[in-house]
């Protein structure tokens, strides 16, 4: 899909579910991703949103940036609220209280709202088989509250609660592999995406929305504020993450893995790390350590793609 790069942008859906006038930081990758996702979802969509940058930047009372019906309640319960939205609509349609219509129930949350505090609600909703789509906008920390670490923060990143210091390299744990955890629920569709690959992202969101049963798209969302890079580099940072194998783009359809972008040779992770302030302190040895880990994980993924 991404190969459609030159003229196709003129043909992208003109519809905007998320309209200008929001309060995202300049260069926010999450804002870009949500905009693309809402183009792919179209009008017939109800969004359930978690607390986090997404909610704070789009909803300050009495204004809203949403053209689609949208509900925010709390931080950790998107999976459950979206379950309720889906069931409420389905039950009323079945009982003839509202007209039959395909309406996408879509949950949206950050990496914290998904892989930490919201994991239980998400797991429950996936396991129960609700017909809904969950989009995780992964900016690799609790950005809204000031760049604290989450379980999705990568190894070596300096955040406000995993600061790099004289005796610490910053985050000491490896990023939790959420797409794999979700895939372990045996749901029909899981994918990873990144707004630096806009058509791939829209295609996956659309596929997820059309899937019957639970679908999940994990969207890598570069954050200039928290990752400390110049605001005009968001798209490039996303591409570097994908091309270096740090964040591979793949799909898991009914259990079978497919790598959407494979490269003859992965770019060195150094190119990706060195572009960001949060990794600036890393020594050559640590970068080498990360390089090995990325290659190992990438290989594992490729084996899985061949096996399934």
């Amino acid at each position: 899909m991404e190969t459609f790069s030159v003229y196709v942008p003129k043909l992208a859906p003109k519809y905007e579910g998320l309209v200008p006038g929001h309060r995202f930081c300049i260069g926010c990758g999450e804002a870009l991703a949500v905009r693309l996702a809402s183009k792919a979802l179209g009008r017939d969509t109800v969004i359930t949103c978690a607390t986090g940058c997404l909610e704070i930047c789009t909803s300050g009372f009495p204004q809203t940036s949403w053209n689609v019906p949208w509900i925010h309640t709390l931080f950790e319960n998107v999976g459950a609220v979206a379950s309720g939205v889906e069931s409420g609509l389905k039950a009323q349609m079945r009982k003839g209280k509202i007209p039959e219509k395909k309406i996408n129930s879509v949950g949206m949350a950050g990496d914290g709202g998904t892989s930490d505090i919201g994991l239980q609600a998400l797991s429950g909703a996936l396991e129960r088989g609700h017909d809904f789509l969950y989009l995780c906008f992964d900016n690799e920390a609790y950005m809204n509250t000031g760049v604290q670490r989450s379980s999705a923060t990568p190894y070596g990143a300096s955040t406000t609660t995993s600061p790099a210091g004289k005796v610490s390299i910053g985050q000491k744990t490896w990023k939790k592999n959420l797409p794999d955890i979700v895939a372990a629920h045996n749901i029909p569709y899981v994918a990873t995406a990144c707004p630096s690959y806009p058509f791939d992202l829209m295609e996956k969101v659309k596929k997820g929305a059309e899937t019957e049963g639970p679908a999940y798209v994990h969207i890598f969302s570069p954050c200039p504020t928290g990752w400390r890079y110049p605001v005009d580099l968001t798209v490039r940072i996303g591409r570097l993450a994908v091309e270096s194998g740090v964040f591979p783009l793949y799909e898991v359809e009914d259990g079978s893995y497919k790598l959407n972008f494979d490269f003859p040779k992965l770019r060195p992770v150094r190119d990706y790390l060195k572009a960001q302030g949060r990794f600036r302190h890393l020594s050559d040895d640590e970068i080498q350590n990360i390089q090995q880990r990325v290659e190992k994980e990438y290989k594992k993924l490729k084996v899985r793609c061949q096996e399934t």
Partner: protein, 241 residues
């Protein structure tokens, strides 16, 4: 911009002056089926699936909703018996023309049409619905006019010869509603599948990272058009500093 009020299927709808019925309906969440329509390309109203019945001053007529501009006080009905009859006939014909196309099958399902009554034996292609979106996108958006118009008389496949001016940008594959045109990159080659042919285009390799990033014909065209230095595309955009 001025807003125009009209009534679609009993629902009061408001839309910008100059919109078409299809646009106003979509804005209001009312679905009118289309095949040859794409919001990024000028409408031509050729597939006629979007036929709707409009009425003002006591008379009513059937028009294609994708080209019909809205007017103040217009009443539109999108699912009258007259309209449905037209659509069913069209879908029946489409089932003969492009029986393999998913969109056509979905439409047939939706309108309860089981099997095409007529059979076109000389058919070379089983998905193309002759909507001409590819022809129009290549002309209007890309500017290459690489794909020819169909031979309307015989209802033949439009595109019997290799489109020589093609720069392999994929816009035609992107807009194709039936999946007749598809595109993929395999190693150093871009392949466009259309009308039973496989057209191959060599991809340019980045001298830094080694990945294949765009078709050579396309890069040559850009260089000429924008007067760029000869080595401009030796590196891919991601490696360019």
């Amino acid at each position: 911009m001025k807003e125009v009020k009209l009534n679609i299927d009993g629902k009061r709808v408001q839309a910008k002056e100059g919109s078409t019925i299809v646009e106003a309906a979509r804005e209001a969440g009312i679905r009118i089926p289309t095949l040859c329509h794409h919001e990024g390309i000028s409408p031509i109203g050729s597939c006629r699936l979007c036929s709707v019945e409009i009425s003002g001053d006591g008379k009513s007529k059937v028009v294609p909703a994708c080209t019909q501009p809205i007017e103040e006080g217009l009443t539109v009905k999108t699912t009258t018996e007259r309209v449905l009859k037209i659509r069913r006939r069209l879908i029946d014909r489409l089932l003969t023309r492009a029986p393999e196309a998913q969109v056509v099958q979905d439409l047939a399902n939706e309108y309860g049409i089981k099997k095409a009554k007529t059979q076109d034996t000389e058919q070379k292609c089983v998905s193309c619905d002759l909507c001409c979106l590819c022809v129009r996108v290549c002309d209007e958006i890309v500017g290459m006019k690489a794909i020819g118009k169909p031979d309307g008389e015989k209802g033949n496949m439009p595109f019997l010869q290799n489109p020589k001016a093609c720069i392999a940008c994929g816009a035609c594959a992107y807009v194709c509603p039936t999946g007749e045109i598809q595109m993929e990159d395999v190693g150093d080659t871009r392949i466009i599948h259309r009308w039973g042919r496989q057209e191959e285009y060599k991809l340019k390799k980045c001298s830094v990272c080694g990945s294949y990033f765009a078709p050579e014909v396309q890069l040559e065209y850009f260089k000429k058009k924008a007067n760029l230095p000869d080595d401009y595309f030796d590196v891919c955009p991601d490696c360019r500093k």
